[in-house]
Symmetry: C2
């Protein structure tokens, strides 16, 4: 199984040893959670959901608790999940009261005839499924609020463009997994971009863009400039290259992330795994929180380009 916790301008000089340790520890716990499910014969879908829940519950990542704020000072959460065995898929967007969006995406997949539900309708469905809604205050963290205030002050003073530095857009989380039965699954969860406006929906809840899984090819979760991921149909296109061109997962992922996205100045990265368990984790940004666990339980976690 492979996970990511977002790609972007992650530089060692901007990181304290404490922050670095916190990220590594949480990514390790997330991987161990998924591994334990897979090791005892659980499904890749269960592993993906449980692993992403760990990251949603952590304030470190821009998903669930710790999500960034919209221009209105609210949190709007998106997620999607896909089962490579059945092509079953679920996606939710613009949630304001759901603690674990990835689990609601799975409920949409399994308990509704639909694939995608948004806004208050999605939350009404959540209630009908017995999901306890949380107060919007649950998602609040001081770090993201300060980032919002800084971005808002900048916007109010008439300066355009994004806030420089680490807080711009970071921390979408995702996971891909292969289980003992040979089934692939993928999932992605995000709080969107800081100061986002106008009911913007990024790539994370878009099946084919931020998330795709098909046992015939591969499983992919992406993170980065969502608009570029949608236009390039990134997750599904990597799978299509495997399926129709017969290239390796590494080449397919590199061709999309390191060539096509770079040519368009679209920043980001993906995690990808084929049905034999080969993985690729290319990113064209300074860093990407990422890690993987092999079938023997060995966990690797990396943050920067060099490690």
């Amino acid at each position: 199984m492979v996970i990511h916790g977002g790609a972007g301008t992650i530089l060692r000089q901007n990181m304290t040893p404490e922050m670095e340790k916190a990220y590594i520890d949480t990514l390790t716990i997330a991987l161990r959670t998924g591994y334990q499910i897979l090791a005892r014969g659980g499904s890749s879908l269960d592993a993906v959901e449980a692993t992403i829940r760990v990251m949603e519950d952590s304030p470190l990542f821009n998903a669930g608790k710790g999500a960034v704020f919209t221009s209105e000072g609210t949190n709007e959460l998106d997620a999607s999940i896909m089962d490579g065995r059945t092509l079953g898929a679920g996606a939710v967007a613009a949630l304001q009261h759901v603690r674990n969006p990835i689990s609601l995406a799975r409920l949409v997949m399994e308990k509704s005839p639909h694939v995608m539900m948004v806004g208050s309708g999605a939350e009404e469905f959540a209630k009908s499924q017995g999901v306890k809604l949380v107060s919007p205050h649950y998602f609040w963290t001081e770090r993201r609020w300060k980032a919002y205030e800084a971005a808002k002050a900048r916007a109010d003073s008439g300066k355009s463009g994004a806030v420089p530095g680490e807080e711009r857009k970071l921390g979408t989380v995702g996971a891909v997994a292969l289980d003992k039965a040979g089934n692939l699954a993928a999932g992605t969860s995000t709080g969107g971009t800081n100061m986002k406006r106008f009911g913007r929906v990024g790539d994370s809840p878009i099946i084919g863009a931020g998330t795709y899984a098909n046992n015939l090819s591969c499983a992919v979760s992406g993170t980065g400039d969502g608009e570029f991921f949608i236009r390039n149909n990134v997750a599904a296109d990597i799978c299509a290259r495997l399926r129709y061109s017969g290239v390796s997962i590494q080449q397919a992922a590199d061709d999309v992330v390191m060539k096509e996205l770079v040519a368009q100045h679209g920043e980001g990265g993906v995690i990808a795994m084929d049905r034999k368990g080969n993985i690729a984790t290319p990113f064209n940004s300074a860093g990407m929180y990422r890690g993987w666990v092999t079938s023997d339980g060995k966990i690797t976690v990396k943050i920067y380009k060099e490690n």
Copy 2:
């Protein structure tokens, strides 16, 4: 240029000569509108938008005026458009006050940094762009309201499942075009499914599912069971087969619509055009409102399987 006005259980025995003529006339006007733009050297994007506006403004189709009703008795409109030259794309969902969703999708593409906007945020953006919002009453038609009342009565009486017959889900509209400069474009617009619930979003506003265009491969617009179109990434997958497998547009479209979707019991059809102007219009339902115009201005319109 090729257009569709929805696929489904369209049978000659359920159609009056007057209805048939109305559909043929409107599809012809829509095609002529697009052709005139292309013939004078206009862009495929302009042709797609103008053609879809004709169908949105017609009460015959489930898009714009004449949209079906949600379970709450409201209209919620979705649309998307894509430029094969730049991969620029715009998508809107869950609109309640926008007369021409396809034009707002184009504004999202050209006047915002985003690809997808939903709900009141999308309408706020519309206002900021000078789009005049309309009363929800504008979308009301007696035919769709009766279909809603019939479906609601059926639901309230405890019967499950869809209402039989023509009104179930019909009339999503779409267009693909190739202009003199060799650029492809695609667009799709819909009112969703009758009695839809829970903020459901179908495939029409999902770039890659209902709409895709890439000058390297083809342009596609789909109509049918939206959930199957999302899971199978239908529009982009047809383009990927052309690009990576090198098959013809007819084979790529047939393999997806007549094999993969049929195997999954997903009903619907697509219109597709490659960069040489070859077209394919497969559908696995009883009928699909469809038509095309060739570069010499010859217009063909069909409804049923046989013609």
